[in-house]
Structures are given as structure tokens and as C-alpha cells.
Subunit: 578 residues, 2 copies
């Protein structure tokens, strides 16, 4: 395409492209826009290397004129101007996420990379926010364990990064619209993404908290006491108090505990106890044990509690357990019961609130089903299902016979966010792409966009306009029309108007700094807070409120409406029947 | 885990890990093993950098002993030995793909990376082979168009690479078992992966043929003749014959053609004709047009044919069209009909066999459904659905009411190939991981493996044995047992015995060269050929043949069977009811 443009001497043609999606992923009602910072880094470094040129020369037909390669080798993004939503902003179908303006050829060459960078990042960031809402309870932690199932190392890194940007920030929200603090407070904690990752490189590169436990192999690698070299532990608060036979202490505790927990101590695996003791010796302040290698209730729990109480004698508090198989709801309750019993019996209050991590093939459905069954899980480790939209519901035989929340119905044919990159203007002439499917008709021309807020700070609608129109004004009613359905119109009186787009790149330079990951995380929070509650309720079983047209569907101004439709008619031939 | 091992002074412990999967992806009966070469590159370069160590020091608890970091910084894979199937080999559940032997800590540290590298590569390679089988006709081309929907740039590159390794090689098969050439010949062409990619970087890095057409934006960017600068074309075979008004020629042809094809020439879009003409001027030998920007039958086909016939006058042959929306079966037939008509009417024989590429959200289901409907497509461009197993069937409303082949039923909860990496031996003691789910019990100990072939060259079963057992012998019956179901046994008399594992890395060096991508592609072909026909028929509606136990389920020797079960009982506590 680039060569054909060049050959047609369209090097100086000026184009405008919109990058947008047509459908929210996961059958949801919102998308978190992510990937902008990577797009900006890409245009900063955009360049054909000598070896790229050599490859292209070799690959393109031999009659391609050599001057074209010269042109390519001098290509940069210095004439590109890029407008976009702020990364981390809640976004909706048809509202452009990014607008690229500049030379037709260069703007076209950005397409695939931009789509690659935005699609997956936004999908993961959105999914992370959805997991957080599904998890419900404010104190439940979500860890990303997905590297081994990712599309190669880079897919795994991106998943870790974008799952994390949705995380609730510790900082105060400074720039956020006025919200009734009281009623929102309890909801706030539900929002945002993941709390950490097991991907150590992601931790290193993006400063994400690294979390994880040991694997089954760690447990099976121990046979018994003979595998323990050094079983000394120094008391946490008294360096002079040293336990030289920590494993013996664990064995003592096991004998004592077995009768209390009504478990035969002979059934508990000695290798497992040795493995737990070894881990505790290495990490006395971070003891978290995987308890399902042999049998959770007959071996793992008893061994864990024995080591945890031995640690307790030395002033350390264990963290908890991880369960990676079986009936997670049931086993977590069994574990919690045992923790309560031990806590009471041996007067160790903190034992009751030990952490239970669950990690076997967790997806939204599992979490909601666990919520319904009742569980005592404090943390989910999520891997396989984070980076994609899988269709796990319909044919599953054993699931609970309950009404399913809307957002976990099947989303077949949408394993990726389907962002597209469409030409909307060339040399100041608007361009439209028609389609037999109205949903696929593009909105031509350069557009400006505003998010209109209600008096309580909630977002009402995104309004797109022609650039020549004056922006909507606060407390002044403005007509918002459905872009394609003539009868769908509403007057909106905004209490606050936010300009959606800002310039990020122009004249060969960043127009403003690329936000840090921390700033993006804050923006996700701020943006999610402006979503109406009944809107977020579309993410749980409460029926969806009927409104003039679906809130947050994009609206267009009356001007833009006519502009689109005039152009449509102009480009659509009149059929002739005979 | 590494620190806990180190702290327990288990630095010299020798471990054996098996990397395997438990279930074929896509509800199929085979998997193509891929990713080995990347694993080998990883161990060649395995090293903690100074900055890695600095990060770990900062991340691990402060009481971690400094000597551990010194240990890490000197860590290499020189004491690791790696056995594996040859990359590209057809593989089956439970048969280890890779066996890693060496120091416990190092072998453990390879886990996640190996899983990441093997899981996705094998999933894509398998899917590519399945698409090829679904496509059926030998002359149908498959192109990988997936970059924009991949998990970031790296996921896209891997998809391109592993989709391609399944491709039918042009080379002769040299080392392949004796097969009845006659009966296989017609099947051979159905096997293998993709023919090219639209990912130019993948083309550059892996020498994969780069294929693609132009985008809708290319068409919409043209308004008419005014966008064409230079419409000169020189005759292909006569440099002195120059057409100076190629666009005029196209217009003339359009007038002539319109009545023949019964299309109103006023309905055809002038911008589209200009775009096609421009593309043809740039690539007179590679003219392939995207015909659905405005209307395939009322605009795109007429414009394409006009340009193609204008090219024909100058000695060039157009390649064909791409359709990216609408009813692909119907539109492809409409196009083929038009091509036939033009071919006959204007005596241009090659016009009838122009290529029709289809590319809108293609998956296995689409292809099979198109086959049923009857279509005239020669090439599929496949993107979104290549890298994952999506659940596209069940709820789709408009699909044909026909029996679905077994292999495209839903594969919920399996969006990735679930390879695992399990410890099976430590310091020459076998290790077993139990589970309430028998399928999840591991096969302990180091194992050797053989593929047993029938007299007609087809693979019968993979047999795992203890290393101390003699290998099975040709023409001698050997007892193959199901690893966990006592009653499932069969005598097998192999006509050929293939040692499954070879050493790839030992003593800090590659033990043999990493196969080239070309060699791996050949191996995929050779290996797929040895799959029984009725086995491959499990990939189409013909019912699956009943055999003593499912062919290609792994078998174990009698010795290994007892070894597994003795160890199982030893590790499983006897319950007590009271």
C-alpha cells in the first residue's frame, strides 16, 4: 500500500485515522483504554533500519522503484499529530481512542502496530477490572499467574503490566469529579485491577509487586527430615533465642495438633512437613504453603498448622495456604474452620485470619460460583483466563443452577478486542466506509469529543461533534443523537463537560509527558468512579435500567449526524430493480 | 523456592522433570510439539545479570543470605541434560515432550520459561495443522493475518512462526517410514500448516513468505481520477509499448463490462476504480484487490475486472480479489461466476481461475460451514482465531443445521495448551504427585519412550518404559498397559520401533544442532503422515474406530505399570473410617 501511494505521488496527502472498537469485550458495558504509552514510544522510535530496507528490497517485486526505498529510509513520525484519550480512561464503542493525523503513508504504516499495542493491553486491563468487580469483597486480593499460558514471553509481560494498571492506587484522588463520598466509599474498594504478579521480570521492569508461593515440585522433592540440612531459626524479636531443631518442634506440634483437628498424624506426609519446614526456615516472615500435593484435609492442613505454630513460638506469623485443586469452596471452608479451631484452642488470635489463596483455572465464572457457594478464599491466582475472553459457561455440567450475571455469558468470536483503524478524512475531505452492516459504517471526518457528567459527578454520555462546532456548555442542554438511528435522541444538560482528547505527539515531539504507570493506575480509578452505579450493576444480576438510549453509547451532535448521513447517501449508489 | 532449596543445602541434588500435557487441544487427537528450539536457546543463554541480581536483592526478604545471590550470579545450565522429542513431532497426552535432568534448583528455574515457550508454540502449530485439514482441498492457501489481534508484538511473531512450521514443505521426504505411496499421495497435500503471513517482521526474521493485500483505507483514500498522478504502464513483454492513460483504459473496460455483467456502471465507485488502478500501476504483476469497501457485486467486482482486463491488454495477469465481509460462500460464488463469464466472453482463459481470498473472522467452524455451503474460495486469511481455542459453535444462531465434526465442539476452559512440568525423580529416587483426580497423578521416575509402528508405517502407540528395560523389538510382541486402568492392556507387535527421545543439551553444549525451521517443517509432515487415516478421520464426521484402548493413548510397560502403582500405594495414606 505504501508503495502504491508513493507511486501515485500521494506522499504529501494528509490523512486522519480513527482507532476505535465496536463492541465492549466480555459482553460488558465498558472498556479500559490501555496501550497508549507503548504507541507513543513506537512513534518516537519509528524508523526503517538498513536491514529492514534490505529485506523489503528483497521481498517487494523487482520493478519497485529504488527511490521508494530512499523515501522509506528517511521516514519518521515528525509530521504525525496524535490525539487520544488518556490511558486508563473508561472507553466506549465507536468513540475514537486515538486519532492520528499526518501524511497518509506514515499514518497508514502505524495501523497494525497500534492495533496490536492497544487491543491486548485494553483487553487485559478491562478483564482485570472485571475480575476485581466479580471478586466483590474489598479485601480479596488478585494475583496474576499467567506467564506460562501466555502467547510467549512478551504476551505474558503485557498481561502482568495491564492487569496491574487497573489496581486501586494507595494515593488520594486529586483530580476526580465531585462524588458523594459517603455512598461511594464502600464501592471504591471494589474497583481496579490486580495486586501483584508471579512474573518476576514484569516485577523488575514495571515495578509490580511480585507474589507467589512454591510449586508442587518443591513438596515432592522432600522425602523427610533427611532432606533438611540446617533447621536453626533465630527468634524474631530476641536474637539470643535460637531454636536449633525447628523440624523437631514441627513434629511435636503435629502430634499435639492431630488429635485436636481429628486427623491421623500417620496420614500426614513427612516429606510435605519437611518441605514446609524448609520453606519456613528460608522465609520465616513469609511462610505460605501449597497444601494440596497429597491431601488437603488429611495431610496439607495439619502439616501447615504444625509449622505455623512452631514459627509462632519463635515470634513469626505465617501468611497462609494455597489450594490448587479440588473443591475450592469446600476446602477453603475446611481450612478456615481448622484455623479457627487452632486459633481458639491455642490462643493464637491471628491464626483465624490466615490467608487462603486459590489458584486452579480461575475465571470470572469460578469466582462468581464460589461467591454463591460461600467460600473462605482471600486471594485468587489467575492465569490462563486473564488474557482472553473464553466461553466457559454454557456447556459446563456441574455449575450451579442459578441465574447467571449478564457479563459472563458467552463471548464467542471475541477472543480479542476488535479495535479497528479507519481512514476518516483525506486532504480535509471526509471519508466514509460503507457496509451492509450499519454497525460497520464509519463516522467520517475529524471529530472532537466530550464526556458529559451529571450533577452527582457521573458520566452520562460521550458526545462527538464536528471540530467547527462550539463545545457543549455546562448547564446548557445539548441534543445528543444516535449516530445511525434517526429516532434515538436525547437532550442532555451536563453539569460538567470534559474534553476527551488531548494532543500527545506533534512536530516530532511528545506534546506532554507519557504518564507513569502509577498515574495511569490512578486514572483507571478516577475514570471507573464516574461510571454510574446502575451501570456497574450491569455487571451483576440486577436488571439493566432502561434509559432513552443506552447510556454511554456514543452520541453525536445534530450537525455531525447530518454530516454523516449526507455523505452516506452521496457514496451509496441508488439501486435499480428490474 | 530456589532460596529455600539453597538454604536446605540442596544445591547438588539431582532432579528429573517431565514436561507434558494431559489433553490434546481443540478436542482433537493429536498435538504438534513446538518450541524446543527456543527452549534450547534459552538454556544456552541462561544467566542472571547484575541488574537481575540487584532487583532480586531488593525484592526478596532482607534476611536472605548474601551468599545465595553469589550462587545465583554464577548459575548456568552447564550441568543440565535435556532430552526431548524432535520439534515438529506429533505428540500425545502424558508422553513427556521434554525431560530435564540436572541440579534441582536450575532445573526448577527453567519451568515457567519452558512452559511459556512450548505451550503457545505447540498450540499454534497444532491449530495450523487442523486448519489445513479443515480446509481440505489441496490447492487452498492459508495465510496468517493475526498480528493485530495478538498478545502484543511477540505473541504475533510466535503465531506467524509456528503457524508456518506446519506448512507442507516442497522437499522430498527422505526419512519417512515406508508408506503405501499410492493411497497416501492424495492425502499428503492436505497436511501441514500455513503458506504465509502478513507480518512483515516475521517474514524478515524467519524467512516466511509475506503475503497480504491492501486495506479498506487504501480504497477510501481515493476519490477518483484526480488522485492518480502517473497512469503510465509499460507492456510486460514489450518495453516499447507504453500505455500512458491506464486509468482511461480501465474506464473503457468498465463501460464494456458493465452490460456483460449486468451491473450499472454508475453504481460502481470511481474512487474504488482509481484505487485499484493505482495498485495495479504499482504492482502490475501482483494485482490483488479488496472488493468489499462499497459493494462487492455492484461495485467491487466490476472495478476489479475492469482493471484486470486493462492489465491483460498490457500482458499482465491479475492475481485475484479479497472479500472481507458479508456472506463469503455466496459472494465467492458470485465472483467466480463473473470470472467465468468474463473469461468466456473476452477469451481470457486464466480469468476463470483467479484467486478468491476470504478473510473475515475465519475459524475452523467458518471453513467447515463454507465447505458445506459450497464456495469458490482459494485462500483464507486467518487472524484472531489462530492463537487460541475459541468456543464459536454452540450459541451461534445462523449456523447450518448439520452434524458438526467432533473436533470443533466447544473447548471451554482450554484457551491454552495446559503443559505442566513435574518433578519425577530426585537423587535417583522416583517421585509421584498424587491427586484426587487420577488423570492428574504423575508417572514417577525417569522414563524412556518408543513409538511403535504397524507394518504399513502407521504409528500404533507410544510406549513408556523404565530406563532399565530393554527396548521393544521389531516383530516381537510387547505388552502395553494403560497407566492407570488395570484392565486396559494390549499386545502390540511393532514392525518398526522409534526411540522417541534424543539428547539435545548436555555438559554445557548442544548435543546436536538445533534443527532449522525448514527441517522442523519437514518433520511435521513426516510425523503427520504416520498418523492413521482413521485417526485423522477423527477430525471429520466419520465415527471413531473402537480399538482395545484408544490408539495413541500412551501405553506403559508392565514393569513401569507396577513401579507406578507400588509407589502410589506407598505414598497414599490408608484412610480410617470411624
Amino acid at each position: 500500500m505504501a508503495y502504491a501511494y508513493w507511486k501515485a505521488r500521494r506522499v504529501d496527502d494528509q490523512a486522519v485515522f480513527d482507532l476505535f472498537f465496536r463492541k465492549n469485550p466480555f459482553h460488558g458495558e465498558f472498556t479500559i483504554f490501555a496501550g497508549l504509552s507503548e504507541c507513543l514510544k513506537f512513534i518516537q522510535n519509528f524508523k526503517y533500519t538498513e536491514s529492514d530496507i534490505a529485506y523489503l528490497k528483497n521481498t517487494l517485486p523487482s520493478n519497485v522503484e529504488p527511490e521508494f526505498f530512499e523515501y522509506l529510509s528517511n521516514l519518521t513520525c515528525e509530521d504525525i499529530t496524535l490525539y487520544a484519550l488518556k490511558e486508563g480512561t473508561v472507553a466506549f464503542p465507536r468513540v475514537p481512542l486515538i486519532r492520528v493525523q499526518g501524511p497518509l503513508i506514515v499514518a497508514q504504516l502505524l495501523e497494525t502496530t497500534f492495533l496490536t499495542l492497544v487491543n491486548y493491553a485494553s483487553l487485559v486491563a478491562t478483564n482485570a477490572a472485571r475480575y476485581r468487580i466479580a471478586a466483590g469483597k474489598s479485601n480479596i486480593k488478585l494475583l496474576e499467574f499467567g506467564l506460562r499460558r501466555a502467547q510467549g514471553p512478551d504476551g505474558g509481560l503485557s498481561a502482568s503490566k495491564y492487569a496491574y494498571i487497573g489496581k486501586k492506587s494507595q494515593c488520594t484522588f486529586i483530580s476526580c469529579p465531585p462524588i458523594n463520598q459517603g455512598s461511594e466509599q464502600k464501592h471504591l474498594v471494589h474497583e481496579g485491577g490486580f495486586d501483584g504478579t508471579s512474573n518476576v521480570l514484569a516485577g523488575k521492569l514495571f515495578n509490580i509487586p511480585v507474589k507467589g508461593t512454591h510449586a508442587h515440585a518443591f513438596v515432592t522433592s522432600f522425602t523427610g527430615a533427611e532432606d533438611l540440612a540446617d533447621t536453626k531459626i533465630v527468634h524474631k524479636n530476641d536474637p539470643d533465642q535460637m531454636e536449633t531443631d525447628f523440624f523437631g518442634k514441627c513434629l511435636d506440634w503435629r502430634t499435639k495438633l492431630a488429635s485436636h483437628l481429628k486427623i491421623l498424624k500417620e496420614e500426614a506426609h513427612d516429606g510435605e512437613l519437611a518441605a514446609f519446614a524448609s520453606y519456613a526456615i528460608a522465609f520465616p516472615d513469609g511462610f505460605m504453603a501449597l497444601v494440596d500435593t497429597y491431601d488437603v484435609s488429611r495431610s496439607g492442613l495439619l502439616n501447615f498448622a504444625s509449622v505455623a505454630l512452631a514459627l509462632n513460638d519463635l515470634g513469626y506469623r505465617a501468611l497462609g495456604i494455597r489450594i490448587d485443586s479440588g473443591d475450592l469452596a469446600y476446602l477453603s471452608r475446611v481450612a478456615r474452620e481448622a484455623f479457627h479451631k487452632v486459633s481458639k484452642e491455642f490462643d493464637v488470635p491471628w491464626f483465624a485470619s490466615l490467608t487462603v489463596v486459590a489458584s486452579n483455572d480461575i475465571n470470572e465464572d469460578t469466582i462468581l460460583s464460589l461467591n454463591e457457594q460461600g467460600h473462605s478464599i482471600d486471594c485468587f491466582g489467575i492465569g490462563t483466563h486473564l488474557g482472553m475472553c473464553d466461553d466457559s459457561i454454557a456447556p459446563k455440567k456441574n455449575r450451579l443452577k442459578t441465574k447467571l450475571p449478564k457479563f459472563i455469558v458467552t463471548c464467542q468470536r471475541q477472543p480479542a478486542l476488535g479495535c479497528v483503524y479507519k481512514l476518516v478524512e483525506i486532504n480535509e475531505k471526509p471519508k466514509i466506509k460503507l457496509s451492509q452492516d450499519v454497525e460497520k459504517v464509519t463516522m467520517p471526518g475529524k471529530k472532537i469529543g466530550f464526556r458529559l457528567y451529571s450533577s452527582d459527578g457521573h458520566a452520562l454520555i460521550d458526545l462527538l461533534q464536528r471540530p467547527s462546532e462550539p463545545p457543549p456548555e455546562v448547564c446548557t442542554r445539548v441534543l445528543c443523537r444516535h449516530p445511525f438511528q434517526e429516532s434515538k435522541r436525547a437532550w442532555v444538560i451536563p453539569s460538567q463537560v470534559e474534553d476527551l482528547y488531548s494532543c500527545w505527539w506533534t512536530d516530532g515531539h511528545l506534546f506532554q509527558d507519557i504518564p507513569t504507570m502509577e498515574e495511569t493506575r490512578q486514572n483507571v480509578q478516577v475514570s471507573l468512579r464516574t461510571l454510574r452505579q446502575d451501570h456497574k450493576r450491569s455487571l451483576n444480576p440486577t436488571p439493566y435500567k432502561v434509559v432513552p438510549f443506552r447510556i454511554f453509547q456514543v452520541g453525536v451532535s445534530d450537525d455531525l449526524y447530518h454530516f454523516i448521513h449526507d455523505l452516506w447517501l452521496e457514496n451509496q449508489p441508488i439501486g435499480e430493480l428490474s
